[in-house]
Symmetry: C3
Subunit: 220 residues, 3 copies
C-alpha cells in the first residue's frame, strides 16, 4: 500500500526540510556558474585567451546552465507549498543572481562581437573587482543555508557593497580616460558599452547582497 | 429598496466571476493593441510607409490606448477583493505587457526622430521576429482565461522563448554588420539605439511568457 | 519591573502608530534630499556653478544621505510587524524614490566627468521640468501621511504625469537638435547619455506617483 511517504512529489510540496535544502542547493549551483563565468571573462580582459570567439562561447554555455537553474528554482517555487524563506525573496534573489550572470555573458559577447584586440587596462581592473564581488556574493549565498553565522554573512554583504563603490570609482576613471584619449568615436562607443555591462554586473551583485541582507534581518 | 445585487460597485469588488472576466478582457485588449503597434512598426521598417512622422504618431496613439488599459487594470486591481489569479501576477503581467508596447513605440519614434531614410535589412528581420513573438504572446494570454488547454498555452510560451533566441542571434549579426560597415559614427549611434529597443521589446515578450508560464504552473 | 511599554524595540514592532509615523518621516526626509539634489543639478545645467567638480560632489553627498534613509526604511520594514500601508508598497515606493535620486546624481556626475563646459539650452529646460516633477512628487508623498485630502494628493500625481509628458516632448526636441547640429560624434555621445539620465529621472518620478496613486486608491 502506498503511504504518503512513498510519494515524493506530494512530500516535497509539503515538507520544508527537503524543499528548503533544494533551494539552497540551486542557489549555490547558480553562484558557482557565475564564479566560473566571471573568471572566464577576466581571463579574456587580461588578454590571456587566444581565441575570443571560443571563450565567449564557453561563457555562453555557463550562462545557459545558470538559466536552467533559475528556471528550476521558479518552477519549484510555484510547486512548493512551504518555502524555507519568503517566496518573494526567493524569486527576487534568483532573478538578481541571474542578472549578474547575464551581464557577464553580455560583456564577453561584446568583446568578441566588437573584435576587440587590445584590452583597456581600466577594464582589467574592473574585471578584478567583478571577480571579487562575485566571490563575496557566493560566500554570502552559502551563508543563507543555516543563518548560524549571521555576522559573517553580513560581513560578506558589506564587502560586496565596498567593492561596488570601488568599481564605481574605477569606472569613472575608465570613462574619463576613454573620452580623453578617444579620438575614435567608434572605439568610444564599443568600450562605453563594455564598461556599462561590467558596471551593471557589479551593481547587480550589490542587489543580490541587499536581498540576502534583508533575509538575514527578517529571520533574526 | 436597494439590495446588494443592485449595487454593482459592491458586487464587482466581491464576486470573482465578473472581476475575473474583466481582467482577462483587459489583457486581451492590451495584447491586441500591441499586435497593432508591432505591425505598424514592421511596415515602417520594411520601408512600406510614405510618411514616417504620421506612422510614428499612429503607433503613439495605439500605445496611449494601451496605457489606459494598463491604468484600468491597476485601478481595478486595487478595488477588487477577489482576483482570478494572484494579485502580484496580474500586476507583473500587465506591467511587462506595457513594457513591450512602450518599447515598440520608442522604436518607431526613433526611426522618425532620427530621420532614418534607408532601412537596414537586419532591422527588417528583427521586426519580423518581434511581430511573431507578439503574436505568440497574445495567443498565450488568450489561453490564460480558462487554462483548459495548458499544453497549448505552454507551447506558445516556449515559442516566444525560441523567438527570443532567434532575435538574439539576429541582433548579434546586425550589430557586427553595423560596426563593420560603420564608417559614420552618427549612423552607428542611431541604429544601435533602434536595435536596442527592438531587442528589449522581444526580451520583454519573453518576460510576459515567463509570468504566464508561472501562472499556468501555479494553477495546475 | 520592566513592562512591555518600557521596551521600545518590542513596542515599535507591534504598534502601527509609531512605526507608521516613522515610515512617513523617512519618506519625507528622502523627498527633501531629492529636491535638494534636483536643485543643485539644475543650477549646474543653468551654468550657475563655477566649480562643477565640487557641485557634483555635493550632489553625491546628498545622494549618500538618501541611500542611508532608504537603507533604514528597508531595515525597519523587515523589523516591523504591522505597517501603516502595504509592506510591498513601502518597498516599491522607497526603491523608486531612490532611483530618482540616483539618476539625478548620475546626471551631475556625467556633466563633471565629461568636462562639459557649455550647457545645451534644451538641457536647462529638461532640468526645469525635473525640478517641478520632484516638487510635485514631494507634495504627493507628504499627502500620504493621513490621506485626508485625497483629491489634492491625486492632483499632485496627475501633475507629475503631465510633467513627464512635457519632459518627453522636450527630450524628443533635444535629441533631434543634437543630431542636426551634431557634427562631433563625441559631443553627441556625451549629451545623449546626460539626456537619458534626465529623462529616466523624470520617468521614475512618474513611477513614484503611480505607487502613491495605488496606495491612495487601496485605502479609499
Amino acid at each position: 500500500m502506498a503511504t504518503s511517504a512513498s510519494r515524493p512529489g506530494f512530500l516535497s510540496r509539503l515538507m520544508p526540510s527537503s524543499g528548503g535544502a533544494l533551494f539552497f542547493d540551486l542557489f549555490e549551483q547558480h553562484a558557482d556558474r557565475t564564479r566560473e563565468a566571471a573568471s572566464l571573462l577576466a581571463a579574456m580582459l587580461r588578454g590571456a585567451t587566444t581565441d575570443p570567439a571560443r571563450q565567449a562561447e564557453r561563457v555562453k554555455e555557463v550562462e545557459s546552465q545558470g538559466d536552467e537553474i533559475t528556471h528550476t528554482v521558479i518552477e519549484r517555487l510555484h510547486q512548493t507549498f512551504i518555502t524555507p524563506i519568503d517566496r518573494g525573496d526567493i524569486h527576487e534573489l534568483i532573478s538578481r543572481m541571474d542578472d549578474v550572470l547575464d551581464l557577464i555573458e553580455s560583456s564577453s559577447e561584446r568583446i568578441w562581437l566588437y573584435e576587440i584586440r587590445k584590452m583597456e587596462p581600466d577594464a582589467v581592473a574592473l574585471a578584478d573587482v567583478l571577480e571579487k564581488a562575485v566571490e563575496e556574493m557566493g560566500a554570502a549565498i552559502r551563508g543563507l543555508r543555516d543563518l548560524k553565522d549571521r555576522p559573517r554573512l553580513l560581513a560578506h554583504c558589506t564587502e560586496v557593497n565596498r567593492l561596488e563603490n570601488e568599481g564605481d570609482a574605477l569606472l569613472r576613471r575608465a570613462v574619463a580616460h576613454l573620452f580623453k584619449e578617444g579620438t575614435d568615436p567608434i572605439h568610444v562607443i564599443k568600450w562605453k558599452e563594455i564598461y556599462d555591462y561590467l558596471e551593471n554586473a557589479i551593481d547587480r551583485c550589490e542587489d543580490v547582497a541587499n536581498v540576502i541582507e534583508g533575509v538575514a534581518l527578517e529571520y533574526s
